[in-house]
């Protein structure tokens, strides 16, 4: 096939062809993002390690199994309640590795700086990154810096890559979730996304909500100390728990049933979501994880999580089931059911 024919194949079928240009939704973590990966990146780069589309790739090198991940951070504003883009970059990468059960070791940090960006602000970001790396027990061992002209970047973008070691006997991947698994959520949702939104022009509001940005590898280690048989882990970042659950249901070809009453939503987050017409299930988190574990071990895993500062409110929110493969269904607060669907682009505030 010629390149032109190849490209044609990649941009068919419909989803990509509908949008001849990239739109914001392509970065939202919902269906548009997934389609871009599934219909363009994955088939083009085409290899077995990429194919499962987990947040990290795990492969054997000599006698070790390594986890390898990359991430880019473009959050706006760069300083938000509870953190900044720098610690988000470190913790986010650490978490991508931790979601494979890996012990995170080394990070890279590439900076794209906009001409005119204040050195004071850069210092704050970088200093925080150093602190976050120390806290997470990782080293930033290589990096790069580029500067783009004013107007061609958004103050600062950070790209990272991360490497960690996966312990023996640990096989954590989305596709390993099984019908019957208990689904554990490590704590209350919506904090990061609402903290960011509270600063967004046009939507600005006052709150004391702080981002939950935090490294989760210790929490995962505590869980692994109870059992190696953790099937799947996901940190519900962009797209919230709804997207994370849908991705796992899709990858593992299982259905998911959750109980809305079991999902902890802080009062302020709930209020902010009410005000803006948002569903907390789609709001980003940066210090939470979802775990699929065999039902019998779940209580002990939860006990271990609750002994960790980042898992104090860990709770079972539902189960994986054999029915309605690929679909997430929730019990509503009044006892009926509703689908928790994959988001399409970004979640938008509404007035209706």
């Amino acid at each position: 096939m010629s390149i032109a024919q190849n490209l044609q194949a990649f941009t068919c079928p419909l989803p990509l062809r509908d949008y001849p240009n990239i739109v914001m939704g392509h970065g939202g973590g919902g269906k548009l993002s997934r389609d871009l990966v599934a219909h363009l990146f994955a088939p083009t780069f085409d290899n077995a390690l990429l194919a499962p589309l987990n947040d990290q790739a795990v492969f054997a090198l000599n006698d070790a199994r390594l986890a390898f991940t990359t991430d880019s951070f473009v959050v706006k504003p760069i300083f938000f309640p509870g953190g900044n883009i720098g610690e988000l970059a470190v913790n986010g990468t650490v978490n991508d590795l931790a979601m494979s059960g890996a012990r995170p070791l080394y990070l890279s940090a590439g900076f794209i700086l906009e001409e005119g960006f204040a050195l004071d602000d850069l210092t704050r970001v970088v200093y925080t990154m150093g602190q976050a790396a120390k806290r997470a027990g990782v080293q930033i061992v290589t990096g790069d810096t580029k500067v783009v002209e004013a107007g061609h970047g958004d103050k600062i973008y950070i790209n990272t890559a991360g490497i960690g070691i996966v312990p023996d006997g640990v096989n954590i991947a989305a596709q390993n979730a099984r019908a019957g698994d208990a689904i554990i959520l490590s704590g209350a949702i919506g904090l990061h996304g609402i903290a960011i939104l509270s600063q967004r022009e046009g939507l600005r509001f006052d709150s004391e909500i702080l981002s939950d940005c935090a490294p989760l590898h210790d929490l995962v280690a505590a869980m692994l100390a109870i059992t190696r048989d953790i099937h799947a882990l996901r940190d519900p970042t962009r797209g919230g728990i709804a997207s994370a659950l849908n991705e796992i249901a899709d990858a593992a070809k299982i259905g998911i049933e959750i109980d809305e009453r079991a999902i902890p939503v802080p009062r302020d987050v709930a209020s902010a979501c009410e005000m803006l017409g948002l569903d907390p299930f789609y709001v980003a988190n940066e210090g939470k994880l979802i775990a699929f574990v065999p039902d019998e071990i779940a209580p002990r895993v939860i006990e271990a999580m609750r002994s960790n500062p980042l898992g104090l409110d860990a709770t079972i929110i539902g189960h994986a089931v054999a029915q309605h493969s690929g679909m997430v269904v929730a019990r509503t607060p009044i006892g009926a059911t509703r689908i928790v669907d994959m988001m399409i682009g970004e979640q938008l505030p509404r007035i209706c």
Binding site: F205, S207, A270, E274, G277, I351, C352
Partner: protein, 84 residues
């Protein structure tokens, strides 16, 4: 149409000739225009739609509504028992 969210007035002031207020929606607060409820006082509740207070909401009304639902239920049950 009409996401209207209840909130409590915590401040009242004027901006550009418009009566404005700070509204607490249960932990998060935002400015809203109070021009349409000129008698609204600090501490009172209102329903806010797209940044405008459109209706005064009283705690008594809310409680009464809930009680009404409860009572109606109880009343109906009695009635049902009699005629059922």
């Amino acid at each position: 149409m009409c996401l209207g969210v209840p909130g409590k007035i915590t401040e009242i002031y004027e901006v550009g000739g418009l009566k404005m207020g700070r509204v607490d929606f249960g932990g998060v607060t935002r400015e809203a225009c109070l021009e349409y409820l000129p008698d609204l006082q600090i501490g009172e509740y209102t329903i806010v739609h797209v940044g405008f207070a459109i209706s005064r909401l009283t705690e008594e009304d809310a409680q009464a509504t809930l009680a009404l639902f409860r009572e109606a239920g109880a009343f109906e049950e009695e009635l049902g028992a009699d005629t059922g």
